[in-house]
């Protein structure tokens, strides 16, 4: 069966420090991968998605970036964190076309606090 892992679970970083959050998926090939930020009362904000290795689409301009170095690995990065980057970050995967399944499956999330 498919599983999705995220780490770390929690992270406290000072302003201006770099960031690297990792997400890996097991049990499936060529998944679509997503990074979301979940803010209280504001729902899910899609940050990046990827349909294949090296293919990244950005939804929101910001100081974050994403990379997909391997088929089932998705990394969220920043060179210098801002206070506003604090939040709960979710990784998700889905199976791509031409099937009927568009639902997404989510990882446990990473709670990032920038101090």
């Amino acid at each position: 069966s498919q599983t999705i892992h995220q780490w770390p679970a929690t992270l406290v970083q000072p302003v201006g420090s770099p960031l690297s959050l990792e997400c890996t998926v097991e049990g499936t090939s060529n998944p679509n991968l997503y990074w979301y930020r979940q803010a209280a009362g504001r729902g899910l904000q899609l940050l990046f998605y990827s349909v294949g290795i090296g293919q990244i689409s950005s939804e929101v301009p910001q100081n974050l970036s994403a990379s997909r170095p391997q088929d089932r690995q998705f990394i969220l990065s920043s060179k210098k964190l801002l206070l506003s980057d604090s939040g709960f970050y979710l990784c998700a995967w889905s199976v791509g076309p031409p099937g009927q399944k568009y639902e997404q499956y989510f990882g446990p999330g990473t709670r990032l606090t920038v101090t």
Partner: protein
């Protein structure tokens, strides 16, 4: 533009009462809609998809294309239903993205 609206940020009902979580969407094509749920300290997970016409944990949701709605209903709320609920819309020309509502926090009072 495609959009999903969940008008209630917070919904509080007593145990045993009926529950209806509202979801309205804006999309000119044929929609695929989902309800996701996030229980406290658990990961976000799929609850229902409209194409399956299923009932999960006593919840049902009917797609009303005339009213562009996909409300989530349960006749008798239980305390374990307390959670955050998100409605999401999948559109075929969206590069596999889901368009999310802002979510409704459901609190079931004992």
């Amino acid at each position: 533009a495609q959009r999903v609206t969940q008008p209630e940020k917070l919904l509080s009902v007593f145990k045993g009462a009926p529950v209806e979580l509202k979801c309205n969407y804006s999309y000119s094509g044929s929609p695929e809609l989902f309800w996701y749920v996030q229980y406290s300290r658990q990961r976000l997970q799929l609850l229902l998809r409209h194409i399956s016409r299923e009932s999960i944990k006593g919840f049902t949701a009917d797609l009303n294309k005339g009213e562009t709605s996909f409300h989530l209903k349960k006749p008798f709320a239980q305390e374990e239903d307390s959670a955050m609920y998100y409605c999401a819309l999948s559109v075929r020309d969206s590069n596999y993205q889901l368009i999310w509502g802002a979510g409704t926090k459901l609190i079931i009072k004992p």
